[in-house]
Symmetry: C3
Subunit: 350 residues, 3 copies
């Protein structure tokens, strides 16, 4: 594909500063720039890198320009870059078809324009909406419902009774709706608590690979609409996540914890059971939240146990001051000895 | 289903306080109560919530009662709730049958009353006991033995020579018996140590989804009977876990470590290699145990590096005292200056 | 198999000290010794254990000997043990054959002597080299290339455009090339950044079970040759790992971070985005590296946030000194009170 800079600028309501006739053949990331490509530069540092690269032109915000290369200026360069990614590298949706090897129960309800790959299993009483793509080796249990335009990648397992919204994406080998981890200790053994609840996943949710979402003991484990979940995340039984949350890899949320909307869990955050997290809370990487805590609206939490950012940083800083404090204590001790000697002298002279 | 409170009470040797004729149509969790349901309340706080809910009646212990709603009193309400869950929501076992798409080696030995789903692979010389359920897409290698009444969920991989007990449950996409992670650095490269051992899983073990248990280098990696393992857990080569352990999500046990019976690993516990853990030890969430440590019987360990609870809490508390200590040091310094001035005055007056 | 100690010694260029005619029937790990076996003992402690075991003989280095049992002395006992493991327990490669249930696109290019298991899916324009083993249920997307002598274990998913080298091994349920976790927050929602890059895996790489490697946003996520990755590891979009790295379980590397050669990530290491790690760096278990850090050549890093070992240990030690410091402060305070009293006495006497 070869497109002139002016055509690209028109496509994204941008302004060319420089040579509008330059031909662009690809998009590039800043750390691996292709000859003749358009590269997106956020910030001065990356602008310098872009200028010294083989890029043909640079996508920047409306405040930035370049004396070295032609640029397209736009209001939101990352949003524009996404538009251009979709233009240069359009996703090819598989053709609607049901592979003959798929094992689909007779009473399954399938919408229009669905693609089902080889070796898919769909069990009894399940419903799948229009335009869904179910890739090979996916296993879907009884009484599952899936909305429209949802994509399920290979090897995913969806246990019985799970309810999945529209425009959801679930990556390979993730598991939705397996039993929660609940036992009670009776007669020297761990007696299993049956898990007869289910999982509800809202519209526009995305779930990474090898992630696990447990069914509720009773009722539902809920993932709110628009929430994005990374690879290797664990959501325990009866958790209720709000809308538009972000959960990065290795985050684990224990049983019955609840989050509001727009909560961010950075990587490897551990939330214990029965925690309540208000709207807009940010949990920094590796934060650990003890059971039954209430994290307050809009706060940033750090550390294990997690504390509001200011307190956590204060404490971190405090530890670095210990060597200085030891020196001071030693200094004071010496001063006191000197004072004591001077005093003894005076007392002796009396 | 509609059952009178008195019938339920009889079924569980409980005592009704209130109206025994009330009709119960479901069980409810405390955070999502259905109209007309029986809800289980542990503790006063949840009793109040239950009283203000749409529940028809409440399951409580023998010390609790309610002025608002009818209750069933029993000795162990959680154990009773499990009984009632099994009564209201009986698990329907799949019918015994072998799906025609399954690829089963000729010399495999199958017990009676076995259910094998679509696209299952069972390789040579493997033996599976009576009443087992092998769901779709499961892959079982050569010379595996599985006891009776064991359930293997979809997409599980069981490598060759694994030995699995009876009444075991393994959830979706877990991997049992892959090579351990062992190399030795020779000639500037990591030379692989072959893993010719296997995995032995005792009776009544449960394993969550996306968990991995490595085979031993030589000999066996062992999971003791009754031990329960959550999702996304890692058990390395040659580990030997005792009986009735609990391992929560993201716990990792490194090579050759050994646990006794009734050990609890809370979430995201990391145990290094060659650690010895005595009976009844509890490792709190996010504890990290350095190599070759010996954790003593009945102790609770916290922190990274893990320390006995008292020491760990003492240290955590110590850090919070630093600001106060800095103030005190400053105060002492000022007092010393004053003393020094007073002393200088006296010395000058001599 | 029964082999004399002298024959084994010849096979590995070792020297027998003791009875060279002893017959060896197996190899044993030090913690589970079989009668009549050869056991490998590293260090004095394990030599004592080996002497008291049922082992017939002991493999040791050239400095060690035993008054209790016959030994084979070699220059590098672990390397020799690997040789002997391969001799006693040779790996049987599956016969070259393509299972009739496999669904392979017409334009796939297959080398010679390939083994493809049941229910494998290989999509369009993919190329697989000589002597590869693709086990059952593996899913391989479009335009993938795989070198020769590579083994892909069951249930692995390889997304489109992934490039895999020769002599690579990928264990069960791992996922290579799924979308990275990238969004930008626009109009109160998380807008997905398309991931049109791919993954490149070098020769001689090994990847454990349930591990995930994300494709790059644009360009490539790269795993350098000879790098070994454990189970349950997360490699994010556009990461570039050098050669001969070691990544233990639960390690996560966030977007665009780069490592040199011979870097070691112990278990549960978390590396944030845009981190640069020089050759030979060692990250201790549970180290956490903040964004954009530069870890310097040959250093060992500990803690969260990760610090050079000396600093981290100094800080850890500092915390343990707080109780002692509090005592000292109290002592100084008392001394000051006494001085003040003595001074007051003198002042009063003036």
């Amino acid at each position: 594909m070869n497109v002139s800079l002016s055509e690209l600028a028109n496509r994204v309501q941008g302004v060319v500063v420089g040579n509008a006739q330059i031909s662009i053949s690809a998009l590039s990331p800043i750390d691996d720039v292709l000859v003749g490509s358009l590269v997106f530069a956020d910030g001065e540092h990356n602008l310098r890198r872009a200028e010294q690269s083989k890029a043909a032109a640079i996508l920047v915000n409306q405040q930035m320009t370049s004396s070295q290369k032609s640029v397209i200026q736009v209001a939101n360069p990352l949003k524009t870059f996404i538009q251009l990614l979709n233009f240069f590298y359009p996703v090819s949706k598989p053709k609607a078809s049901i592979h003959p090897t798929a094992v689909i129960a007779e009473d399954v309800t399938l919408g229009n324009n669905i693609s089902i790959g080889p070796f898919v299993i769909i069990e009894s009483s399940t419903t799948i909406g229009d335009n869904c793509v179910i890739k090979g080796h996916v296993s879907i249990g009884n009484e599952v419902t899936i909305g429209h335009d949802t994509v399920i990648h290979p090897q995913v397992t969806i246990y019985a009774q799970t309810r999945i919204g529209s425009r959801v994406s679930i990556h390979a080998s993730s598991v939705i709706g397996c039993d929660g981890f609940g036992y009670t200790f009776v007669d020297d053994q761990h007696l299993k608590i049956p898990h007869v609840g289910h999982v509800v996943i809202g519209d526009d949710v995305e779930i990474g690979a090898n992630t696990v979402i447990d069914r509720a003991t009773l009722g539902a484990t809920v993932i709110g609409e628009g929430t994005k979940i990374d690879n290797l995340v664990q959501i325990a039984h009866s958790v209720k996540l709000g809308k538009h949350n972000i959960l990065c890899a290795f985050t684990g949320i224990a049983g019955s914890s609840v989050s509001g909307n727009h909560v961010i869990f950075a990587a490897n955050v551990g939330v214990s059971d029965h925690v309540q997290i208000d709207d807009g809370v940010i949990l920094a990487a590796r934060a650990g939240v003890p059971p039954k805590k209430h994290l307050k609206k809009g706060n940033v939490y750090l550390g294990n146990p997690a504390r509001p950012k200011e307190k956590a940083l204060e404490q971190e800083l405090a530890v670095t001051r210990i060597p200085m404090m030891r020196k001071k204590i030693k200094g004071l001790s010496e001063k006191i000895s000197l004072l004591s000697e001077r005093l003894a002298q005076i007392e002796a002279e009396k």
